[in-house]
Symmetry: C2
Subunit: 192 residues, 2 copies
Amino acid sequence: MIRTNHDFIIYIDKLRKKGSYEIDEQVFAPKTMILKQDRRYSSVYLIREGIAKCYITDENGKEFIQEFLGQGMEFGELEIFSNKLTICSVTSVSELKVYSFPHSTYRALLKEDPTFNGLVMKALADKIRYKAPRHSYQHSYPIEDNILRLQKLFPELTEVLPKKDIANYIGVTTRSLNRALKELKQKQDNPK
Amino acid sequence: MIRTNHDFIIYIDKLRKKGSYEIDEQVFAPKTMILKQDRRYSSVYLIREGIAKCYITDENGKEFIQEFLGQGMEFGELEIFSNKLTICSVTSVSELKVYSFPHSTYRALLKEDPTFNGLVMKALADKIRYKAPRHSYQHSYPIEDNILRLQKLFPELTEVLPKKDIANYIGVTTRSLNRALKELKQKQDNPK
DNA sequence: TTGGCCTTGGGACAAATGTCCTTTTAATTA
DNA sequence: TAATTAAAAGGACATTTGTCCCAAGGCCAA
């Protein structure tokens, strides 16, 4: 659920030490909106520390969380390739330290640095791989199963995140999430 | 719903004429399974003509269709970057003509041909962009709206594809699809 | 041409989820 | 500390969707 990419962050740390490219450092307070859906920006971000949520808001104001981004994940990179507006909003969950690449730098790196190029390519491929089974799983299994799976993978998250976010991630209403949680508790207290 | 990528096919056509890389041509009969989920393959495919469906099958045997691939779309490429097993099965819908790249050729092209590299990068980015809003939309709107949207975008598909596929694409059962279709028809016959 | 098989369509009921609201609890600020 | 706001929990009901059937029609192979 919280995605990470260590190889990427390690490589960028190295790059920065060399200092041949402009890579800025930035810190955002918790709950800061960093990218807003349907806008245009001129930087790509890479998370050095902290967690961000990446989500789409529909016309009715419902949020649908795409993924939680952790160390080494980038955002704002899709717009490099398509020159379209952002599809997702990105907000910091905890305090967030990021590297930010001006588009020009990012483009230069893609061209001139084969390792960087490869890392970006792999990061894109991983995002695709990750999304495919997720939505299929959420469709095919009841809410309870989705919660259990989540709690197993990221026990800490359930305590850090507001219920609303968890519900939005699973793609259900808060009410339904609560109902499922209650039933789960009953089953655990009174097994079978 | 049927995705395409013309720039890509145009460029590969050009490449093939030059003949410096091994790019084979292959034809599959309708309803042929080309890739099977959780296997390993040694080629990447690019569609020259026809339509394929790309889907995940879960433990209960339910299919969930990821996308329909048309001209210029590639499949089997994710495994180049992560060396993992395929996540999707791919089956031809109509007769399918493809170019197939041995992994070695594909890798060589990525390294040596910047245009190819860029096209692949963009193709990956587009797949991500495309998936995000789709699942969010399907969650937030009733089946009827999803059908209407689909009929508007691809009126031809509704006639070519079996109902089961359409249902699997929207992520509902055939029963629910039928129900929605019936209600739609009633509304049209007897408006308001 | 007939029997099997698959697709389509739909009835009846069960289960899951959403909507709307109210109450409770915790957190924040004046 | 009191007052205000926000988050969490849940009751009651409506709606949606799924499950399990069965029947009708088309298509193919024997």
